[in-house]
Symmetry: C2
Subunit: 454 residues, 2 copies
């Protein structure tokens, strides 16, 4: 059956791409309040498209923040399974803008890749799902199963209102299983089943010293420098062997067993240097880079600032310095406990003469793992292989998708991650892009998958 | 004789203050190219004033950067000594602007202090010198000695072109001694002879990792984080006991002898906490805060930046991180050697997986010390005491004035530092101010001094 669907997608490739480009052209940056209306415009685009496809009860649900787009399709009948499809239409900020080769909101195809913010994370992949639903409606007059659509606008700011929305509307979002397309494959053209995700938490710490910037000649030697104090604190949290030196941080970590280390070996080949330009990779002592990224927790400083950052020299002792820290967690670790350990370490290790304010990241998530042999997973692997003509590999990844943990916690249903991104997509960075090949084969995979499930 | 001069200054106080406010209202920020024309306007203000006073050969000398204002007065005759007066008319940037209680370029008197950028460093003190020359001309019809005026516009950016100008025009600037008013007293109303200044040097270091910002979930665990690498490097340069841990840094330091430690004890009373708001002072192990600020070298990070600094969270591994470092040096230390030691330490202590670019501060200076018993110094002390009605203390200070070293190196003449700033002036910070009391008594001191010298 899915052949007709795939023919439709092939014949309408240009119109679909044109429509995707309209979607990508809307600067729906959720973290920046100046883009508030752009975010709503992206939601309206989806509302219109879902109505055109033939979904029912399409609505932009107010969440207190950016709206959540809901829609459902029940015509497959009560015997057919119901899937909850989740995605997000908001995108990351684009700074530093001057590093983009083309306008992040004017999609452009270069060397077989579609360049635009959100092309991979996650507008592009959301659009592929809807395009396949369109194809089924246009060729079969119906969808192969019942569908509930949940596309939020706050994923890049921690899905602030999603948990409450899902929790307070159990009936509305109830389904037999969930499908999420907000992830990637280990390499271009390498079909990948993602059976595990990392959890996430973080803190922001600000070191406060003098109540104003001081002349370094008049006060240097009498006052603790907040930037130096911050560097001593941060350097005490992770050593040069990439081991996190915060007391108790590893206590609850579920160890990587030999079976998993074998699975990881299959994908160990991927070359981080080529895609990042680093001179050499570094990873936690005793673990390979792949083992660390997939199966071990991480600690990263995402940003730091303090004192004079302009041209030239300004000889001051600054009044404060700030660092933004996030951690990726593995099964067994509790985000709140980790935040508490981080805060304790900071307060216990701060030098004299300064005070430290710790702001805890409001939204955290536990890590997630699913059984690779589950039939819904096996059918996904089969569909991938059929579309890409390659064996499917099974991996855990370092990324975090809080909604996965929440859907599991609230509905306790299987969750299938059907992702088509690639390591070169530059998510969250300048020049984000998505391979046109993944666009085509990804939609084929989805077409096959719904056919398998029906 | 000087009584008439002082009466003139008293009678014309309001007009002089009005004129000073015009000068302070010009935003002559030398480090910021958008203020290029404002800097020239400040130079023109001085050119006009010097002509009005009756100086000869007044000119704005092109330097390749901001102009240097030169003028001379020879009518005191060949028997009278010639003084070279140095000052600067450029000012520090004003950021963070939102911390100013009043517009930095709209002078305002509050609680006996004149608030404006440059009120103390150095426009205010330059103006006092010119006002006293004006008073002498108006009351005695001549100046008590020959004067050469050298007021530059690049002090806050390291006096980039001053050394060459002084070096290539020896005849023009030649004098019997030099007077500089660009320093302060240990406390308000506490006349102070500055017999030593610190030297200065610095480096800017940038740690480079991946060639673009990376998603911390996809690459965390495989790639060295440039911010973490930077914190490890910086933390290895100065420990929590405020001891600089760069090999060889202290090798050439001239030790503080007991005599000097006694001199310093006389001013140890000054309370750093009150003027900075810190919970406690910290200083190099084995030295008091005063000993460290006056007589021991310092190492300060003036600014740091890298990664995401906006609102909210951005889960990236940044591609680079930068720190601006400056050191204050004491007699015996060679700035170039220190830069080399800093660079060696950075390259030898950088973690694997990153590269480090080191930019050396172009302009450095050796420390300076003068014999407290020199007659020109003794006459200065006498004038201070006469004007302020208090004994004069002798101190070394942590500040650096490269021109002092250069004048000594090029002309080998005595240099007298007649400064009237106070520790609460907030130089280089928001809400810079200068006590009106110092404005009045400072001009009296200068009137007495020229009378002593003639």
């Amino acid at each position: 059956m899915s052949e007709k669907v795939i023919s439709y997608l092939t014949e309408h490739h240009d119109q679909l791409l044109e429509k995707l480009n309209q979607f990508l052209s809307i600067p729906s940056v959720s973290t920046d309040s100046v883009h508030k209306n752009d975010v709503r415009e992206a939601a309206s685009f989806l509302e219109t498209y879902l109505n055109d496809i033939g979904f029912e009860h399409v609505e932009q649900r107010e969440t207190g923040g950016h709206p959540l787009v809901f829609a459902e399709y029940k015509q497959a009948g009560s015997d057919a399974p119901t899937v909850l499809f989740y995605g997000h239409y908001d995108v990351q900020p684009v700074d530093p803008l001057d590093q983009w080769k083309s306008d992040p909101f004017k999609p452009e195809i270069r060397d077989g890749r579609l360049y635009a913010r959100g092309s991979s994370d996650d507008k592009g992949q959301v659009f592929m799902q809807l395009a396949v639903f369109e194809a089924y409606m246009k060729t079969e007059g119906k969808l192969p199963l019942n569908v509930k659509v949940c596309i939020e606008g706050e994923e890049e700011i921690g899905s602030e209102n999603l948990y409450r929305t899902l929790h307070d509307n159990k009936e509305l979002f109830a389904a037999d299983f969930a499908v999420i397309s907000d992830s990637g494959m280990v390499a271009e053209n390498r079909p990948t089943i993602l059976y595990g995700l990392k959890g996430f938490t973080g803190i922001e710490l600000t070191v406060n010293g003098p109540d104003h910037d001081l002349h370094s000649g008049m006060y240097g030697g009498a006052v603790r420098n907040p930037i130096m104090a911050l560097t001593h604190i941060l350097a005490s949290m992770k050593n040069e062997e990439e081991v996190i030196t915060v007391d108790g941080f590893y206590d609850d970590v579920e160890p990587l067993d030999d079976g998993e280390r074998q699975l990881i070996k299959q994908v160990e080949s991927e070359d981080y240097k080529a895609s990042t330009g680093v001179t050499e990779t570094v990873s936690e002592k005793g673990y390979t880079a792949k083992e660390h990224t997939m199966g071990r927790p991480t600690f990263e400083v995402n940003g730091i600032y303090g004192g004079y950052q302009g041209e030239g020299t300004k000889t001051i002792i600054p009044s404060s310095a700030t660092a933004k820290i996030t951690c990726r967690l593995v099964p067994g670790q509790d985000p709140e406990k980790i935040q508490t350990l981080l805060e304790q370490h900071v307060q216990e290790n701060k030098p004299s003469g300064v005070t430290v304010d710790v702001k805890k990241e409001k939204l955290s998530a536990k890590a997630y793992k699913v059984e690779p042999n589950h039939p819904l997973i096996q059918k996904a692997a089969k569909s991938y292989t059929k579309a890409f003509g390659k064996d499917t590999v099974y991996v855990r990844m370092g990324g975090s998708i809080p909604v996965v943990e929440w859907i599991e916690a609230i509905y306790n249903i299987p969750i299938v991650l059907l992702g088509f991104g690639t390591p070169d997509d530059r998510l969250h960075s300048p020049n984000e892009s998505f391979p046109m090949d993944s666009f085509v084969k990804g939609m084929e995979t989805l077409a096959y998958y719904w056919d398998e499930i029906r």
